[in-house]
Amino acid sequence: MMRRALSLAAGVAGVALLLGGCAPSAPVNETAASSGDDVTLKVWSWRTEDIDAYNTIFDVFEKEHPGITVDFEAFQNTEYNQILTTGLAGSDGPDVPMVRAYGQLQPNIEAGQLDPIDDIVDGLDDIAPSVLAGAKGKADGKTYAVPLATQTLQMFYNKDIFKENGLEVPTTWDEFIALNDTLLEKGITPMALGVKDDWMMPIFADIVGSARYGGSAFEGEVLDGSKTFEDPDYVASLQIVADMKKYLTPDVVGVSYTDSQVQFTSGQAAQFPGGSFEIATFASQAPDLNIGSYQVPLPPDAVSPTPVSPAYADGNFAINSKSKNKEAAAELLNWLATPEFGQLVADDLNQFSAIPGVTYSNEVMQEAWDNYQKGEAPYLLLVDFRYGDPLGTAVLGPQIQKIFMGEQDAAGAATALQDGISQWFTPTP
């Protein structure tokens, strides 16, 4: 509103604001929408770290779409769900909220808080089906949002540490083990991992173990009921997780996620198993850090024929069904589905866009993208097992923590996971 401070509309709004301050019952919001042709779209997100980048991106949109102003507001990630829950229920919510993907999106859809966009937005067909699945209603199969980004999970490494110690990116499991043993001998922590934060654990498990249990093939078998998480291959993949303990800091159970980031960026650990969302964080925290990424090689007896990068769709933009500016919101969503926006996502946000045809000028990103193209797999527990209570990720996370504490074994953790999701999950043959 301040940007158009000179216009009469803003003056009126300002008076309304003042009045609102004096008389508690007078509404303060929704003043901008009522004035003339100019529309202000409220966009909400949990990416506080990307506020500047988003403002730059939406400037491009505003220039191409005169009359629409985008008011971008970011809230802290950990509190975003509750803010969104009440925000979509109330009258002053966002026009275009960034919403979670897959199972976490369903409560919003079931409550009728979002509008289906199949007939409103062009270009959805170009998006990969596995990515678009994250934006669909489980019950009605309709699309409710434009996916923003794909996250892939890989092993990041510090190129300088590798070079100084004459180490190469491993291509076989034996090389991978030898690499970590060498680092250990030289007194360098091989991997930085925040075991204290449970949500990081299933991510780590899929980075080292997805190929062992068979990635996409296993996904199909679990969903149709021919296999369960107690399958020997899945248990073996958790055993790999347990075996990695010696390559982590001695007191790793007390290391938080942020500690592990600092450990890696300050050069105290050589590798960081994590998601592509780390690339931007690492770049801003430690601009001089020289990083690369690789897919963990095939472990012995792996079910998958090639190494894989687990991946999932992350972040969707939707239209609030209570929005008073649906036309403008549709205009924005259409723009968010264009390669132009996709390219801005790649360049300014350092994320892998969901839109095909985007190129990556950043070397680190290109490398991670190439890895992903060589072997894809779903980040299984997030993609398929967050449609009920308890969430698959919320069950496995603490179980893996217990493995690292020595209170649980791989088979026990797998059983607990199966018990937890059986609470709501029924296979569809």
Partner: protein, 283 residues
């Protein structure tokens, strides 16, 4: 202060009193060390801290404070927090004074019931009621309005404040009222002119003990405030956590800035609080 006039009992320097004061100093160290560390680290830089967690700021740097104050928009949050806290504490103290006076000067079942209801408010996990509260304020069009926070905090302060104040009013001898009545004063005048000045220490206690939780609360503004210009300091800080989660120096600077006003308030008011509490306990 009462303490200076009352002579301590044990006057000789015994082993016991030596150990006693040793314990007092030791605990003082435990209480203050983490806070000192927070302040010291706010003057250091991130790489320094990652290399050695313990250390003095040999070359103190103020960049963290600049970052916190300017980029995080702390000044706006400060102003909002002061407005909300002062207004809500004053409002809740005012209505609680009136109610407490009534509880202390009436004898009727309905007032006992009301007093009990207010008191039970102390035991309610009130934040559990956030959803209906949000819908209520939303239907009144008050979301993102600082007055919604003020009213909610004022209401939340009533159980504690009436509990403390009622006790004080009950101690005031009934003869005071009778004398005032003979002079022809109405009940409100009696309350204002006779009783209010006498419960001043209690008012100080209530104000300070409500000021602290309201100033520090982040839960209600998180849900009720959507406009960044209306953020209070604690919400500003949670947002700040998101942006600077691995930039500890800046975080420490922000945390220090957020804590200073309360410390100043408390330093100014310790005497009042202690005498207020003592007066309340002693009768």
């Amino acid at each position: 202060m009462t303490a200076t006039t009352s002579r301590p009992v044990g006057k000789r320097l015994t082993l016991g009193s030596f150990l006693g004061s040793g314990f007092l100093w030791l605990y003082a160290l435990i209480a203050i060390a983490p806070l000192v560390l927070m302040v010291l680290n706010s003057f250091r830089t991130m790489p320094e801290m990652a290399k050695s967690p313990l250390g003095l700021p040999l070359e103190p740097s103020l960049t963290s404070y600049q970052k916190a104050w300017i980029t995080a928009d702390f000044q706006t949050y400060f102003f909002n927090s002061i407005f909300v806290t002062v207004a809500s504490v004053l409002l809740s103290t005012a209505v609680s004074l009136l109610a407490a006076y009534a509880f202390a000067r009436t004898k009727s079942r309905i007032f006992t019931l009301l007093e009990g209801t207010f008191l039970s408010g102390l035991m309610l996990p009130v934040y559990l009621a956030i959803l209906p509260l949000f819908f209520l304020l939303d239907s009144l069009g008050m979301v993102s309005n600082l007055w919604s926070l003020i009213l909610v905090y004022a209401a939340l302060g009533i159980p504690f404040s009436t509990f403390v104040l009622t006790g004080f009013f009950r101690q005031l001898p009934i003869e005071l009222d009778e004398a005032a009545k003979l002079d022809g004063a109405g009940s409100f005048t009696t309350f204002l002119r006779v009783h209010l000045p006498l419960v001043r220490p209690a008012i100080a206690t209530v104000i300070v003990f409500r000021f602290v939780p309201v100033w520090n609360d982040f839960f209600y503004p998180l849900i009720l405030i959507r406009d960044q210009k209306a953020y209070t300091l604690p919400v500003g800080i949670t947002r700040f956590f998101g942006e600077y989660q691995t930039d500890w120096a800046t975080l420490f600077a922000g945390l220090t800035l957020a804590t200073i006003p309360l410390v100043v308030l408390f330093l100014l008011a310790t005497k009042q609080i202690v005498s207020g509490l003592t007066a309340g306990m002693s009768k």
